[in-house]
């Protein structure tokens, strides 16, 4: 896709640890178009956060090694110098972090933290930068922004702080916004508000968004496309509808199964994916999901390619050796079928 805003190709990140070399990100590729919302979904340890951090050049361990490319508007991000990255960070690609409680400097006034970024990239005089900051805070829905701009982070609630983070991220009108689990640390009602706010802002600014989360439910009404990651690899990728209504990979089934749905009676026990994610250091050969997959067969000892399997949907790709029919059959006999829609809802 030549018109992609951000194009990631075969990204690999590995860490040398005491237990040996760990491949945290193992050949991830995706494209992001302008204005699009891409959700990257997976359990913790699946490599989704590392991927997001790596794009910003924030994976700073001296033991890390990077391979592959990530082009932003033709600029290579992987291996770029600190100076090049600095120009991109905040200004072109901005990031919202998981924990708003710890992501703001506790001893600086929030206004100053935002002004700092504006001045870094745009060199505005103090007064103007401050005005912009107040506007931003108002835009993300902070009441009495003009007074609160001089408050310290601890004087805000969690949800308000995340709004501050969003204002901070948007302060230089970035083209790409990476949100790393932006709502995980917040309680449910606040989550909804924050997501709503992000959706509105995307409409207003037209920024592309990479939303990193472990919760498929969160992405249901904001994402355009979804990439499901497991143990460092993308195991399934497709549009929101494709993933939600026609999931191909057994791992995706599991994720979907763990969503509590309000439109169905609550089952006695929420189905969970059996077993634990593999330790990054000793992952199984072939399909990484193999040990936990109820449908494992001999073919699974080989690495499955990320390919389109569903007829007529070339952008819906997955890594599973099962044929489409087999998947269909097995998917339907899953107990409880929570999170899975029946076929008639599936798009043609």
């Amino acid at each position: 896709m030549a018109d992609a805003l951000l194009s990631v190709e075969d990204l690999r990140v590995s860490f040398a640890t005491e237990e040996g070399v760990v491949e945290a990100v193992d050949g991830v590729s995706f494209d992001l178009a302008a204005g699009e919302v891409l959700a990257v979904v997976g359990e913790s340890g699946s490599g989704k956060s590392v991927t997001a951090m790596t794009l910003m050049g924030l994976t700073r361990s001296p033991n890390a090694r990077f391979e592959g490319t990530a082009q932003y508007k033709g600029t290579e991000l992987i291996g770029a110098s600190e100076d090049e990255l600095r120009r991109v960070r905040g200004a072109e690609i901005a990031m919202i972090f998981q924990d708003p409680m710890t992501s703001l400097n506790p001893v600086q006034r929030i206004g100053k933290q935002i002004v700092e970024q504006i001045q870094e990239h745009e060199g505005l005089p103090d007064q103007q930068a401050r005005e912009r900051t107040v506007e931003l805070l108002e835009r993300v829905g902070i009441p009495r922004a003009r007074e609160r701009v001089d408050n310290y982070p601890h004087e805000f609630s969690g949800g308000m702080r995340q709004r501050v983070m969003i204002a901070l991220a948007l302060s230089c009108n970035p083209s790409v916004l990476i949100a790393d689990e932006p709502t995980t640390a917040l309680d449910v009602t606040i989550q909804a508000q924050i997501l709503q706010r992000m959706r509105d802002l995307r409409e207003e600014t037209g920024a592309a968004v990479i939303l990193v989360t472990h919760d498929l439910g969160v992405v249901a009404d904001i994402a355009d496309r979804i990439a499901v990651m497991y143990a460092g690899r993308i195991v399934e990728e497709g549009t929101l509808d494709q993933i939600f209504y026609d999931p191909q990979h057994p791992y995706t089934w599991g994720l979907l199964g763990s969503i509590t749905r309000v439109d169905k009676p609550r089952p006695a026990r929420l189905p969970a994916i059996a077993g634990l994610p593999p330790s990054l250091a000793n992952r199984p050969q072939g399909c990484h999901f193999r040990p936990r997959c109820p449908h494992e067969f001999s073919e699974c000892s080989k690495v499955p390619p990320l390919e389109a399997h569903v007829q007529g949907n070339p952008e819906h790709r997955d890594r599973c050796w099962l044929s489409v029919d087999e998947k269909l059959a097995k998917r339907e006999v899953l107990p409880g079928e929570i999170g899975l829609a029946s076929k008639e809802h599936a798009p043609a």
Binding site: P62, R86, A91, M95, L104, P106, Q108, E116, E120, H154
Partner: protein, 315 residues
């Protein structure tokens, strides 16, 4: 704020009371030696000794003696048993010296420790870091009086680069004052440099991994700005509090060894001599004075702390 001050004053009084009682007990209960006999000289007659006992109140009960002594402390009337000089005046005389030693050393150790600690943290795991770590550990492993005596003799007397101890009043000759204090400052600072640079290094390393530093990086700030505005400032907070406490302790006569080795004749050396002579009043006064400074600096540190870290409010 008002409540804070009241609490601190109560604490100060409590601690000073405890210190004074303990000091009083140490010298009046343990040694089994009669202070009147000590004071009377070698050839005194029994009547002279009895007169001294009467005059100084050694015949009173211990609690009564304590009360009498404390009355003298409060009215500034306390006298050394050994020299019969006013204890208050002697402390006041020693204070500028002790203060000169403390302030210079404190600034020195703070400055050097910041440089060492920051550099060590930035180079964590590299050769420079390991080298500085060993240097810091050597610093905290050296007895102050040993390195002081060696420096004083070799650098001061043998090579003549520095004065061989002693003190010159600042008002008399500021340059000579500075010159006389270089060695004592350095020697006193060595231990603290070792300790502070270790603490700062680990604080910086902790802070570098804080989420808000990642945020700062994500904002596109330069490495220098990040280090100074976000990392250093936050790592310094605990150091500043330690600094206040140590400064208080040194000011309150805690630099006994350095003062003695370099013959600075400050409060510490005065105390050392008084202890040797089992001279209760000066020791009593200095321990109280010292506790006073420690508690006072504690309070100052808390105020400073609240200023540096807005999450804290004085209660």
């Amino acid at each position: 704020m008002g409540r804070f001050i009241v609490r601190r004053v109560i604490q100060m009084v409590l601690v000073m009371f405890a210190v004074s009682v303990l000091t009083f007990l140490i010298f009046n209960v343990i040694p089994n030696s009669d202070p009147a006999v000590r004071m009377s000289g070698r050839q005194a007659s029994e009547s002279t000794i009895e007169a001294i006992r009467e005059e100084w109140g050694f015949n009173d009960s211990l609690p009564q003696q304590y009360i009498t002594t404390m009355e003298k402390v409060i009215t500034g009337d306390l006298k050394s048993q050994f020299t019969q000089l006013s204890v208050g005046k002697e402390i006041v005389k020693g204070l500028p010296r002790t203060f000169s030693l403390a302030i210079g050393a404190a600034l020195l150790w703070m400055f050097v420790a910041i440089c060492f600690g920051l550099y060590s943290a930035v180079k964590a795991g590299k050769f420079a870091d390991r080298f500085l770590t060993i240097i810091a550990l050597i610093g905290i492993s050296m007895p102050v009086f040993w390195i002081g005596a060696l420096a004083n003799y070799y650098l001061g007397f043998k090579l003549g680069w520095f004065p061989n101890g002693g003190y010159v009043e600042f008002t008399e000759d500021p340059i000579d004052w500075f010159y006389h204090l270089i060695l004592p400052w350095t020697v006193l600072a060595i231990l603290f440099i070792g300790f502070y640079s270790r603490v700062l290094r680990s604080n910086v390393l902790d802070t570098i991994n804080e989420d808000y530093v990642r945020t700062a990086r994500a904002k596109g700030l330069g490495e220098r700005q990040i280090m100074i505005r976000h990392v250093l400032r936050n790592s310094m907070i605990p150091i500043v509090t330690l600094w206040g406490l140590d400064f208080g302790a040194v000011l309150g006569g805690g630099a006994i060894l350095t003062e003695t080795v370099f013959d600075l004749q400050g409060v510490g050396q005065y105390t050392a001599e008084a202890i040797g002579q089992l001279d209760v009043p000066p020791v009593l006064a200095v321990t109280m004075f010292s506790a006073f400074f420690i508690v006072l600096l504690n309070a100052v540190v808390d105020i400073l702390y609240a200023y540096l870290d807005p999450r804290i409010r004085l209660q």
